[in-house]
């Protein structure tokens, strides 16, 4: 307990709910050019709020989606559309797995 007081305690935010990112924030966090993020938006991988890229706001969930899509492109040699499809299927698998676990325990 003594130990706990000494350690730094940074501010914790729930990425998916309490974080809003601009185009610049998101590009920096993914270490890519803004154009890459714009392309992800055009492909429907990301759904920012706002009309023009300058006023786009991304909820935190998009950081994860963008990073996974970019990694899939880089590591597996798939194009943007392929990465978008993989991401969609991965999310479906994840939902099914959760339900399966719930059934198995129920």
């Amino acid at each position: 307990m003594e130990n706990e007081k000494m350690l730094p305690q940074p501010v914790s935010l729930i990425l998916e709910e309490q974080t809003q990112l601009t185009l610049a924030d998101l590009s920096r966090a993914c270490a890519v050019h803004a154009e890459c993020i714009v392309e992800l938006g055009e492909e429907g991988v990301l759904a920012p709020v706002g009309r023009e890229p300058e006023s786009w706001r991304f909820s935190g969930i998009h950081l994860r989606r963008a990073r996974v899509a970019l990694r899939l492109q880089r590591d597996l040699g798939v194009n943007l559309a392929g990465a978008a499809l993989a991401l969609q299927l991965l999310e479906e698998v994840e939902t099914l797995r959760t339900r399966l676990t719930a059934l198995g325990r129920g």
Binding site: R28, G60, R74, D75
Partner: protein, 315 residues
């Protein structure tokens, strides 16, 4: 350090063509990609395969590797030969965009280190530190009330001698109330150190719940199987029900059946839109231990002689 057999890692013959190597890499990368694979050692395998491919896809690096000879076995103690590297110039391709930070000592002893910039010029360079990602397991109760947990992460870094080493990074993490499994806690500035005057990266913790002995969680809803006695189900009753924030009194309506769900609105994981707490009824049957109990069950059978629990099964 141990010798690494890159051909074995990729599952190809030593005389494989560049096309075969590329094909093998693509297959293995899809199989072990950490974002795709659920295999326990996926990340380690993916790095291993990436390292092997970094060498074998590049004609120069592959030729140099082949020069070591075919007699080495994977895992054998290895030191580069003294004349290693003479006559080879790894000037052209250099290192590719892949993440080289996980490459082994073996790789570095042969090809140097991608991120030390020996072949990349010496321009001053400022960049934000890398974002770090880790998983953290918490109790369901922590999501209801919030909590502070001390966590220890192993962070790879470069020590004063320029070697890659891991150090323990310990910090207190506030678990925000209302967090759900699969969500991430973002800790700004707690990731990798910046380069030059760059800011440090962020730390992301993916939250999982410890398996609980009686609750199960679906998104923001929490489920509990609640055993009730036959007379409680038939006649109705008010019973005590545990929830992650203490027990509550719950009214069981008369005529309840096993499998019926009772909803406690807003008693799931809290938040702007709180989840619900579902109680799923199970009927617990008392054992017929003594003569008196057995007589009672026989009387019951007589009383309910037209009751067929299997009527829905058509028998």
């Amino acid at each position: 350090m141990e010798f690494k057999d890159y051909y074995q890692v990729m599952g190809v013959a030593r005389d494989a063509t560049q096309d075969e190597i590329k094909r093998a890499y693509r297959q293995l990368a899809r199989k072990y990609h950490p974002d795709v694979s659920k295999e326990a050692n996926a990340e380690a395998r993916f790095k291993e395969v990436g390292e092997a491919y970094e060498v074998l896809k590049d004609a120069e690096k592959r030729a140099a590797y082949d020069q070591l000879g075919a007699n080495w076995k994977a895992g054998q103690e290895f030191h580069p030969p003294p004349d290693w590297n003479s006559g080879f110039e790894f000037s052209g391709g250099g290192f590719t965009g892949g993440d080289a930070s996980g490459f082994s000592d073996f790789f570095e002893s042969l090809y140097g280190r991608a991120f030390n910039g020996g072949q990349r010029g010496h321009t001053a360079f400022h960049a934000q530190g890398e974002d770090h990602h880790a998983k953290v397991q918490i109790d369901l109760e922590d999501a209801y009330s919030g909590a502070i947990r001390t966590i220890t992460l192993q962070v790879p870094g470069i020590d004063a001698q320029g070697r890659v080493s891991t150090r323990a990074h310990q910090l207190n993490v506030k678990i925000p109330r209302g967090i759900r499994a699969g969500q991430h806690i973002r800790l700004a500035g707690q990731g990798g150190a910046g380069h030059g005057q760059g800011k440090p990266g962020d730390l992301y913790l993916e939250v999982e719940f410890h398996a609980h002995s009686h609750y199960r969680v679906e998104q923001r809803d929490v489920y509990l199987d609640l055993p009730v006695a036959p007379w409680e189900a038939a006649l109705g009753a008010t019973v005590k029900v545990p929830t992650p924030v203490g027990s509550v009194e719950l009214k069981i309506p008369p005529g309840s059946l096993a499998g019926n769900k009772l909803r406690l609105k807003g008693r799931g994981i809290p938040g702007a839109v709180p989840g619900d707490f579902y109680v799923v009824l199970q009927i617990a049957v008392p054992a017929a231990d003594g003569d008196a109990d057995r007589t009672f069950y026989r009387d019951m059978a007589e009383q309910f002689n037209s009751f067929n629990p299997r009527s829905k099964l058509g028998v």
